[in-house]
């Protein structure tokens, strides 16, 4: 196969995948009106997302906050007053580290879970059984996962932000001799409401992306155990890449367009 044929196939496959993913997304959006009917399933999925992911989120956030504090303190030492440590930690955690790292760890766990669960249902004909029963798998299985992802990702991010800042404060106090007053005063410096709004707004999109990635790859699973494994891996890879790309686009949209650039 020559290079052009290979590239052509790759582009066509990519477009076909995007098209099929978009159709699943449209199917879910079309059924959003029946979310109330699916409230029990939505609550169950919210529970899986928030409670199930919390140890991972807390651990990741705590070490992220600690690393940010140590690294920033090391860079600032002897050059920049330590009062700015809180400023830098708060801005980096609230704007980037909290939302993106929470999305990456929760997303990897969740999209793998969705893809494996739905993929197994697909290869064992459970989705066909559901269709025969005149139940739309997209509505019964996809909708609750999507809604839970969109609604609960901001909650996971808020927890991550809080834990990361507390961890940064503790590490700053122990290793950099920064007092609580100095740290919190720094946090209040350059405080901009656009920061938490941007940080949190992004997470709704991240939640949707994570859920869609897992749901789509689960529904698209083919073959047996190997197919489930492949779908799970693809879901995790797609989630991580999509979150990073979306982060750049959303930051641009929120910070450059909606909030009018750096202030």
């Amino acid at each position: 196969m020559n290079v052009f044929a290979y590239l052509g196939h790759a582009v066509l496959d990519g477009l076909a995948t995007a098209g099929r993913g978009f159709m699943v997304f449209c199917g879910i959006v079309c059924h959003l009106g029946v979310s109330w009917k699916r409230r029990n399933e939505i609550i169950e999925q919210m529970h899986i997302l928030v409670i199930g992911s919390m140890p991972l989120v807390i651990t990741t956030a705590a070490f992220t906050g600690a690393i940010v504090a140590v690294q920033t303190g090391y860079q600032m030492k002897n050059y920049v007053p330590m009062i700015f440590l809180g400023t830098i930690v708060a801005k980096s955690v609230i704007l980037e580290m909290g939302p993106v790292l929470a999305a990456l760890v929760v997303g990897s766990r969740l999209s793998a879970n969705y893809a494996a669960e739905l993929g197994t249902m697909k290869v064992t004909e459970q989705l066909d059984a559901m269709e025969i029963m005149a139940i739309e798998p997209v509505q019964y299985l996809g909708l609750p996962r999507f809604v839970a992802g969109v609604l609960m990702m901001p909650v996971a991010t808020l927890v991550a932000d809080f834990i990361a800042i507390i961890a940064a404060l503790i590490v700053s106090m122990i290793t950099l001799d920064v007092t609580v007053q100095t740290f919190t005063a720094g946090m209040r410096f350059f405080w901009d409401i656009a920061d938490p709004i941007t940080g949190l707004a992004k997470t709704f999109f991240f939640g949707g992306i994570i859920a869609m990635s897992g749901i789509y790859h689960g529904f698209a699973t083919q073959g047996g155990a190997e197919g489930v494994g492949k779908a799970t891996m693809q879901a995790v890879v797609a989630t991580c890449l999509s979150v990073l790309v979306a982060d750049y686009i959303l930051n641009t949209v929120f910070m450059q367009i909606i909030f009018g650039g750096p202030r």
């Binding site: 064992t124 459970q126 066909d128 059984a129 269709e131 025969i132 029963m133 005149a134 139940i135 739309e136």
Partner: protein, 268 residues
């Protein structure tokens, strides 16, 4: 059942939309380069049990899935009581599917739900019945298939035969007009397989359903079928009553029912 009760309908010249049963009209399907169904034509009378026999990988399950449009044909049409399944909109297709029950090869029970929840799900979705009434109906169906006491068990706690029976209970809970059986006895010991055959016959008698049974288990096929059709290389190569199948000289059918490696059907 006598031959006269369910004659072979020849609808090639007739209007399939006027036929009261199911018509598979020149359906073709390929997966990649492999042709699975090749202008397949088959009709099922209302109220009969048609058994589709054939070697593994000849497209029997694919044919079954086309009838309820779990798969879309590349060419041809499917008719159910005059409605063209292949042309139905999503809503109408879902309404039609409510008249079908299907027993899958691996039972396809939802493994995160109890047996009672598996059976009751369709009622929960499509009726306004209370939870108590749904449970009562699920238990009634479980009693019919001899699985009393398994209501609160997960599918993983059941044996293969019990799963098939639970799958059958789920298939009949809405009292369907049509039941599709995909390899109902495959992988079961002879006694359990015979119990499943008896169940199929019992359901046929009690519920008066139209059934299509896909199998390569000949004792089962002879026991439950009113009529048989043999699928080979994507085409229906033979149709007839159970007696006609027993007496036929058709070399492929004879080889298949006698289970011989030598004959017109290649082994590999």
């Amino acid at each position: 059942m006598s031959d006269q009760a369910f004659p072979i309908p020849d609808l090639r010249e007739a209007d399939p939309s006027a036929f009261p049963g199911i018509v598979v009209e020149d359906v073709s399907k390929r997966f990649g380069d492999k042709v699975v169904l090749d202008h397949c034509h088959l009709s099922i009378n209302k109220g009969e049990t048609l058994v589709v026999i054939g070697r593994s990988g000849q497209g029997k399950s694919v044919l079954l899935k086309h009838i309820v449009r779990l798969l879309e044909p590349d060419a041809g049409r499917i008719w159910v009581e005059g409605r063209c399944v292949t042309d139905l909109g999503r809503g109408a297709l879902m309404e039609l599917r409510k008249t079908f029950g299907m027993l899958f090869q691996g039972a396809a029970l939802f493994d995160s739900m109890t047996i009672c929840e598996n059976i009751g799900l369709i009622l929960q979705e499509h009726t306004d019945w209370t939870a108590e009434r749904i449970r009562a109906r699920a238990c009634e169906c479980l009693e019919l298939v001899g699985l009393v006491g398994t209501e609160d068990k997960l599918p993983s706690a059941l044996s293969g035969g019990m799963k098939k029976r639970a799958g059958l209970a789920r298939a009949i809970v809405m009292e369907p007009e049509y039941i599709l059986y995909d390899e109902p006895t495959t992988g079961l010991d002879p006694i359990t397989a015979d119990a499943i055959n008896d169940l199929i016959i019992k359901l046929q008698r009690e519920l008066q359903v139209t059934s299509i049974v896909v199998t390569h288990d000949m004792p089962s096929a002879f026991k439950v079928g009113d009529r048989m059709a043999m699928l080979n290389d994507g085409r229906i190569v033979f149709q007839g009553s159970v007696d006609e199948v027993r007496k036929t000289d058709h070399p492929a059918v004879r080889q298949f029912i006698e289970g011989r490696a030598e004959g017109p059907l290649g082994v590999f």
